[in-house]
């Protein structure tokens, strides 16, 4: 079995973000971290490989090539993923649709049985790539996975949905998107970090992939910082709170 897993870097959501001069993305000079949901996807791939043996795991990063390569190595290969692929692309311009088409091309080259992708990336927050890819491939999908179990030739996935949990069964090949409660991502060991340096990492340019039309469908015209909420007041005690909620806010 072969698993393709996502490894995307994102600007650290806890860092102070500045909008770039053209207003269309954030300034690049910030700390990056591995997208949290990709960490869950990577952990899931590693756990399935350990449980079932004879599984090849491949991580794919799409973005600025040197940095993305570093993240694929440190965040995926050092944790135990067998090899990596980097597709070089301008992160400020590429949209979910084009990323999904890049994945499609890599899937066509690699023929994985399972593609595991983080359910969303915590910069753009679009929550689209896994679903777009599944449709491009005409494969079944299970998004927002909190549990993944291989049962014979089926994969049973528990999904976090409105109103509770939904369990679906998929046959492979298929796409699964990882939610945060899927697992606790492991840390890379020192041995893992050393090994990762020697693991293969293939690099492609968008032009190498035969995408046909490589134009994004969606573009950011302008980004802004929303006006924040003003802090209110501290109340003295519960009586004061009740008085304010009743008298001032008129909500109880």
């Amino acid at each position: 079995m072969k698993i393709l897993v996502s490894a995307k870097r994102v600007s650290d959501p806890n860092a102070k973000l500045a909008i770039s001069g053209d207003g269309k993305w954030v300034e690049g000079d910030v700390e990056y971290v591995m997208n949290y949901f990709c960490e869950n996807a990577i952990e899931c791939a590693l756990a399935l490989a350990e449980e079932h043996g004879d599984v090849e795991t491949v991580a794919l990063g799409v973005g600025e090539s040197d940095e993305t390569g570093r993240f694929v190595r440190q965040g995926a290969l050092a944790r135990g993923i067998d090899r990596g692929i980097v597709v070089s692309a301008d992160e400020a311009i590429i949209d979910s649709d084009l990323i999904a088409r890049v994945y499609q091309k890599i899937v066509e080259k690699e023929s994985p049985d399972l593609v595991l992708i983080g359910k969303q990336s915590v910069d753009g927050d679009s929550n689209q790539v896994g679903q777009l890819l599944a449709e491009y491939l005409d494969w079944p999908q299970a998004t927002f996975a909190s549990k993944v179990e291989i049962k014979g030739d089926q994969i049973e996935v528990t999904r976090e949905v409105d109103g509770g949990l939904e369990v679906v069964a998929l046959s492979m090949p298929c796409v699964i998107t990882a939610d945060l409660r899927l697992n606790e991502p492991r840390f890379a060991s020192l041995a893992g970090i050393m090994k990762a340096k020697k693991k293969p990492l293939d690099e492609y340019e968008l032009d190498d992939l035969d995408l046909g039309d490589a134009a994004p469908k969606v573009r950011i015209a302008k980004m802004t910082t929303p006006s924040g909420r003003k802090a209110g007041v501290l109340v003295k005690d519960v009586d004061d709170l009740v008085a304010k909620l009743r008298g001032e806010a008129r909500v109880i």
């Binding site: 979910s96 359910k119 915590v122 679009s126 449709e135 079944p140 998004t143 509770g164 909620l245």
Partner: protein, 322 residues
């Protein structure tokens, strides 16, 4: 001129209220671009849900029924949506960013060769083009995005639009023959969270609890929620630790709510949590640590131990009301 197809969220019996927020989105887009909208109710035995949506000014309400759509999965649902959108010549397809909307609408976009904007919170101008405003980086930034394709797909953040009232009239109900096609995905079961309280996304009052409530999450939040007719929500940490079901989670990766009154009880106020509630009308924070970021967004902050303050709050609200 636009022809918008609104995909209803419903439970087959009746439309969910968030459908009305999506209709509001459609009406606002029509106010900018001109045009009209239809509604699709896709499910199995969902005629009554469709009948409930005839009074909102839609050109038609399409009922799309199939046994495989009783528990819709993304692949078949998306095919049916795309087939209907093509047959009526829709150039915008919109559904709320519910879990089904998030799951299926990207697949619809591929089928219609459309670009897609997720979680739209507003419609704005961008140099002559219509742009969709959407939160990014957990709502710390917003982006105005332009979709450059002829057909456009969006999911709508319901808390940013009004649940509009019926406008009268009687849209014709039409049935559309659904063919969800084959799929290698099968529905196995649904494990629902039992609750007699209002839906989180529809409630006027939300009582949310955090990790600090520990195994007394229920005993602390429930009496206050029930007294105020509210829904119960939770931080991710409270869900992770098993004090509340996943469906209660509010935030960047949970539900987004904007009630009249929001209680954040023993919640620290991480950006990912604020992303789901900071547009609430009135925010009350109860936390024993005065330095927590939740107090920066709260209208009323009470520095106190929740285990004593919340029961006291319940009895004092009862007292002033009687």
């Amino acid at each position: 001129m636009s022809k918008i197809l609104v995909i209803a969220d419903h439970d087959n019996v009746a439309a969910k209220k968030i459908t009305l927020n999506t209709i509001d989105f459609a009406k606002q887009l029509i106010a900018k671009k001109g045009g009209s909208f239809d509604i699709a109710v896709i499910g199995n035995g969902c005629g009554s849900a469709a009948a409930g949506l005839t009074g909102y000014g839609a050109g038609a309400v399409h009922v799309v029924e199939h046994a495989d759509l009783a528990h819709p999965l993304a692949q078949g649902f998306a095919k049916v949506v795309a087939d209907l959108a093509k047959s009526i010549g829709a150039d915008v397809v919109a559904m709320s960013a519910s879990s089904l909307g998030k799951d299926a609408m990207p697949r619809v976009a591929v089928r219609l060769q459309a670009g897609m904007a997720s979680d739209v919170i507003g419609i704005v101008d961008a140099g002559g083009a219509v742009a969709f405003r959407r939160p990014m980086w957990a709502g710390n930034l917003v982006g105005d995005v332009v979709i450059d394709t002829a057909v456009q797909v969006v999911t709508v953040r319901s808390s940013a639009f009004d649940a509009i009232a019926a406008s009268g009239g009687a849209s014709p109900v039409q049935s559309f023959a659904a063919d969800p096609g084959a799929s290698r995905a099968k529905f196995v079961r649904f494990e629902g969270t039992q609750s007699s309280r209002p839906d989180l996304t529809e409630a006027a009052v939300v009582v949310a609890g955090g990790r600090g409530l520990k195994d007394r999450f229920g005993p602390i939040t429930e009496p206050l929620a029930d007294l105020l007719g509210g829904a119960i929500g939770a931080s991710r940490a409270a869900v992770d630790d098993g004090f509340a079901p996943n469906d209660y989670q509010i935030g960047q990766t949970g539900k987004v709510v904007a009630p009249q009154l929001y209680f954040a009880i023993a919640i620290s106020g991480a950006v990912q949590h604020l992303a789901g509630m900071k547009n609430s009308k009135t925010i009350v924070a109860i936390n024993k640590n005065a330095d927590e970021p939740i107090f920066k967004v709260a209208d009323y902050g009470l520095v106190a131990d929740a285990f004593t303050a919340v029961p006291e709050l319940v009895s004092k609200i009862k007292a002033v009301r009687s």
